[in-house]
């Protein structure tokens, strides 16, 4: 008994990375355990009900799970945990959603008592139609997603055997030639296609767009792609045109600027959630065509109205893509139950070691408030403290120093507060991109950056997601959205596209010591630390002195 796995009684699994059987064990537990964090020595997985049910849905049974745990465990596996695994997995599939030739969508069970139990739930009642017999009830087709969600909550997950609509067929193939789909991308696509719907989690820069394109080619159906903003929509379009057989005419943009509906339509979350007279007129886009596939880019940002609408379109295949499945509102479970289970996940550092993303070094630079700033800060109201700390004068000095230090690299200076960014841009003489910058100008600046004509950009949170700037090597973060872990990760993600010369990316976060800024920084860094990124912490004076 000297396996790499330690099974804890709270259902966490600790996997020792340096153990010779690490790979084998990871492959054995990956189908049913959720990777929670992957720092340098011990990776933590967690057994969740949802994870176990997803494993059942994917064809794994309790015996396999128990066997995997007992085979690789270093210590005796708690018996209660084994019993719990068996009981949890046995709950899956006792209810099934099926297409009945006569009654349409129905909820059935071989155990009438379970069906009786769920029928009595106040949350289930409005989602069900008439009871056909004691083991079968009609389901309103539009409530398929919501019913599944509620049943998961009740602890009786339904096995969805009602299938997916194929959607309107549209031939799409990959234009591989000088590039190939990577193994992990193919594994992610295979996992998704086999399961029907689900979420793929890959680090920034690891080629999530290729995963989307490969899935589209695999299904060859009309596709609706939902993205965070117009710039991202255009990047997707450019990438699809470059990587697939799709032509310009076949790919439409549905944004604030254009309203094109084509076999492949790329829409922004913003336009879909535009509200007029209490209605969301653009949500009709979901029904504008017989979509065979819906792709949700940056699925962790899925806005609430789209959440609701997604529940209504459970018959269509759904693919969620993200690097950081952390929702600050804690609705990760909703993502899994509405879009589908996690189909693929890979530790960031592992991708880095295989060369699929750029190596990165993270540094926290500590600055101090001046005497005047410190007294203002001390007297400030709690809600103003972060703004004051984030605006420390010393940050400009540090940013200037870092720009000089990385004079041959392309840099991004990223911040939260527009006035701070404007001052920085003016002070450092750099172009500024914010939400107010017109899309065209934004596009031009980004293009100039990609071509190397613009060496450094000062950007607001508009560049947090989905902006592909492959040559960016250095990022200097001067402020952020409080303690947002996913923002920190996404900002580092801007640098992770592998560099042509294999250079290491540098991510600097400038933090004011002994203020809430440093408290928030500690929280922000947690996700990346859990992914194995270790922050070097240097004093601004030391840095400037060097």
């Amino acid at each position: 008994m000297n396996g790499p796995l330690i099974v804890q009684s709270d259902k966490t699994l600790l996997l020792e990375v340096d153990h010779p059987d690490y790979e084998e064990c990871r492959n054995a537990i990956a189908p049913f355990a959720e990777l929670e964090r992957s720092p340098e020595h011990i990776h933590t997985y967690r057994l969740t009900n949802l994870g176990l049910w997803n494993a059942r849905a994917a064809g794994h049974d309790a015996e396999q799970v128990v066997d995997a745990l007992m085979t690789h465990s270093r210590f005796p596996v708690p018996h209660a945990l084994l019993v719990d695994v068996a009981e949890t997995m046995a709950r899956y599939g006792r209810l099934t959603l099926q297409q009945h030739p006569g009654y349409g969508l129905v909820l059935t069970s071989t155990d009438a008592t379970i069906l009786t139990e769920v029928r009595r739930s106040k949350k289930v009642q409005p989602l069900l139609g008439e009871d056909i017999d004691e083991s079968m009830s009609r389901v309103h087709p539009s409530e398929r997603g919501r019913l599944k969600q509620v049943l998961v909550g009740l602890g009786w997950p339904a096995e969805d055997l009602a299938g997916y609509v194929d959607g309107e067929r549209h031939e799409i193939s990959l234009a591989t030639g000088d590039w190939q789909v990577r193994d992990y991308q193919q594994q992610a696509v295979d996992g998704f296609v086999h399961g029907g719907s689900g979420v793929v989690v890959l680090p920034c820069g690891a080629g999530k767009t290729i995963v989307g394109a490969t899935a589209m080619a695999d299904l060859s159906a009309t596709t609706l792609i939902l993205v965070t903003n117009t710039v991202s929509a255009r990047q997707w379009k450019a990438e699809l045109l470059a990587r697939t057989s799709l032509t310009d005419d076949e790919v439409g943009e549905y944004s604030g600027a254009r309203k094109e509906i084509r076999p492949v339509t790329i829409a922004t979350y913003q336009v879909l959630t535009t509200r007029r007279k209490g209605q969301y007129p653009h949500l009709d886009l979901f029904e504008a065509r017989d979509w065979g596939l819906i792709i949700y880019d940056e699925v962790h940002l899925l806005p609430a109205p789209v959440f609701r609408f997604t529940a209504d379109i459970q018959a269509r295949r759904r693919l969620g893509l993200t690097a950081t499945l952390i929702r600050e509102d804690g609705r990760e479970t909703d993502v899994f139950s509405l879009i589908g289970p996690k189909r693929y996940d890979a530790p960031w550092r592992e991708m880095e070691s295989q060369g699929w993303i750029a190596p990165a070094e993270c540094t926290e630079v500590r600055v101090s408030l001046s005497q005047t700033e410190r007294s203002t800060y001390s007297m400030a109201e709690p809600e103003d403290k972060y703004r004051l700390a984030a605006h420390a004068d010393a940050k400009t000095k540090v940013a200037r120093h870092l720009i000089d230090r990385h004079h041959s690299d392309q840099l991004l200076i990223i911040g939260q507060y527009l006035d701070q960014l404007e001052l920085l841009a003016a002070d450092l003489g750099l172009p500024l991109v914010t939400g107010k910058t017109p899309v065209k100008e934004r596009q031009e600046l980004f293009d100039g950056f990609r071509r190397g004509e613009v060496r450094a950009l000062v950007v607001s949170k508009v560049a947090n997601f989905s902006v592909d700037l492959p040559e960016a090597t250095v990022a200097i973060q001067v402020s952020g959205t409080f303690g947002s872990r996913q923002e920190e990760a996404q900002r580092l993600g801007r640098l992770l596209r592998p560099k042509k010369d294999g250079r290491t990316a540098h991510f600097y976060t400038v933090v004011t010591r002994d203020t809430v800024d440093s408290d928030f920084a500690a929280r922000r860094q947690r996700f990346l630390a859990e992914q194995g990124y270790s922050y070097d912490i240097v004093d601004a004076d030391d840095l400037l002195y060097q």
Partner: protein, 709 residues
Amino acid sequence: MARMRSLADFLRSRSDSQLCALLRLRPDLASPVPSSFSELAQRANSGTSTVAAIRTVDDTALHILEAICALEAGGTTATPASVSRELHLDSYRTERALAMLLGAGLLWGDERLHVPSAVRDYFGPYPCGLAPPHPGDPHAPTQVFDPVRPSVADELPTDLLWRVPRLAADDGQALALRFPGLLRLQEDATWLLPRTTALALREGRLFPQEVPQAPELVGRTWEPERVGQAAAHQADQFLRITDRLVSWLGRTPLSLLASGSLGIREAARVAAELKLDETTFLLSLTLALRGGMITADAQRRLVPTDSWHRDARSREARWWALFESWRSSTEDITESDEPAWRPLDGNARMGHARAAVLECLAQADQEISLEQTLAWLRWRHPVDAPNVARVRAALVEARTLGVSAYGVPANFVVGQNAAALASQLPQQGGGFLVQADFTVTAPAPLERALELRLSQVADFESGGGASVFRLSPESLRRAIADGTAAADILAFLSEHSMTPLPASVRVAITDASRSGERLVLTRCRTTISGTPDAIEQLRSNAQLQDVSWIRISDEVVATDMAVDEVGSRLARAGFPTAQPVTHRPEATEAPPVSPQLDPGRVVAALRTVEDARSAEGEPEPAALTTLPVSRTRLWEACRNGEELILTYIDDQGAAMTSLVQPLTLGSGDVCVLDRTRAAIHRVDLARIQGVTDRTSAPGPGTEVLEEDA
């Protein structure tokens, strides 16, 4: 050999080990300690004690006991052979059941078996549902109702035939008209089914069904080694959970309500804070309290005791103490409908459930279902089988404590072998991994002192085979506030970390110290001052590592350990005796009222009295020596079985001196075996004038009894 004429004779004839077993089974017989075998027999034949004893026998034995009563009522003296014959039992089962009944003092005799009168009373006037024989002709066959047709039995009320052979006037009249001669009219106008008639209708059977046998226990078998290892791991984990809880109480004493109980909501809150489920939390809390690891202080707060701080026993010894506490505990922590948990609030039913479940697990020795467990318990405890909820709870507790694994009792529990536990406990590691995400993972169980120290600087996150902690600004500030300097935290982590400390962790510690060391609020019981060099030597001394020094300044350190203990530790570590400057006593536990009574000692006392009376001899006077004496001294004498010379005023006001062996210590009196007078009696503590030790060297004289502080 003299003929056995009574229960007292029978008890007198039992061997010492059999008597000890009887007293263990029926502890009420020894409390208060009986003064003779006659008194013991009298007590064993009391109604309450008999009812309690009947609860200890299984369904087979209970049926046999009732059958013997019925036979005796019918004028037949039962013998083992007649019992086997009447009940169609094989001799093995009969002997086993009879041994159980004789062992419990519910039956007496040698060849001929007799039931004590209290047992007859228990079964009432109609044992086996049979009326006593007619006084005129007890052995006569059916006289009136003839012939007895077996088919009549089917037409009679079941209760009349098998339970109560008596009917009220109206019902009896109707039946008597239907079956003339079947019933006999009594003087009180009720109707009785005569014994002989009933037996004929029953075709001679005493019970409607066969005497029940122990249900077969069949389940999945597990390798004993695997079970032992899993249970030992769990045992180790439970120990660590309890230590963590007690350590937490040291930092955050848990306030009890004015009623002395703990609100269930509060319990849930604390359990969540400690990342424990409520059952584990309450079990751990209960056993820690019973085991003297924690106590309620004057402010009704649960706080760690000195003995916990000082505890240097091995893991197996510490676990064994917890296990014994659990086995003897009666606290019911499963009553979810109770609004509060009351410390040490006994519920005999839960204690019974624990013992019963443990017995069942040992009997099965394989993983059996809950249904099988319940069926077996119904047979084993036909009078008061524990209910499902308590059985389920006891099973969970056994699993949580490490008594069983995979539903099977561990080999070290079955064999009562602490050494076997020691060999199966997981090997302890001395190091952990500190990672950049601020987690501290100990891949193997840590030594107690190390784990406690780690829990002072980091928050517990996950337990099991490994322990996972997380450093956070709050945990670091807390450690600093408890008096641990940032440099000490760094040194501690660096010393035990198996990998270099990440830079972010180093900086976080420094940050916390910057914001946390400005003000230090700490609580300690003992402080030591000295030159900075001397203090540094103390802090770095390996023998004093577990003292948990709190640095107040370069010249002052403190600890939560009691001042006397610190003094002796310093002396042992080779330091010149440092004068403790501050001592803040708190939360010292009082000795229990009386140590658990050793049945062997009671039996020995009874034999002594018996022998002395038969020999009419006087014990030799002892050399009188005197020692400072107190209530604690009497308590120790009880515990150790020592003899003392007691000087006291008796009920008539006369001064008495006796060589005594204290047996039990009550709140106001002590029960002693008086060797001088060959008697067992009680002496009021207030009447004791002095106590002298029998064996030590001559002293200055008898001292007056003093109550302990």
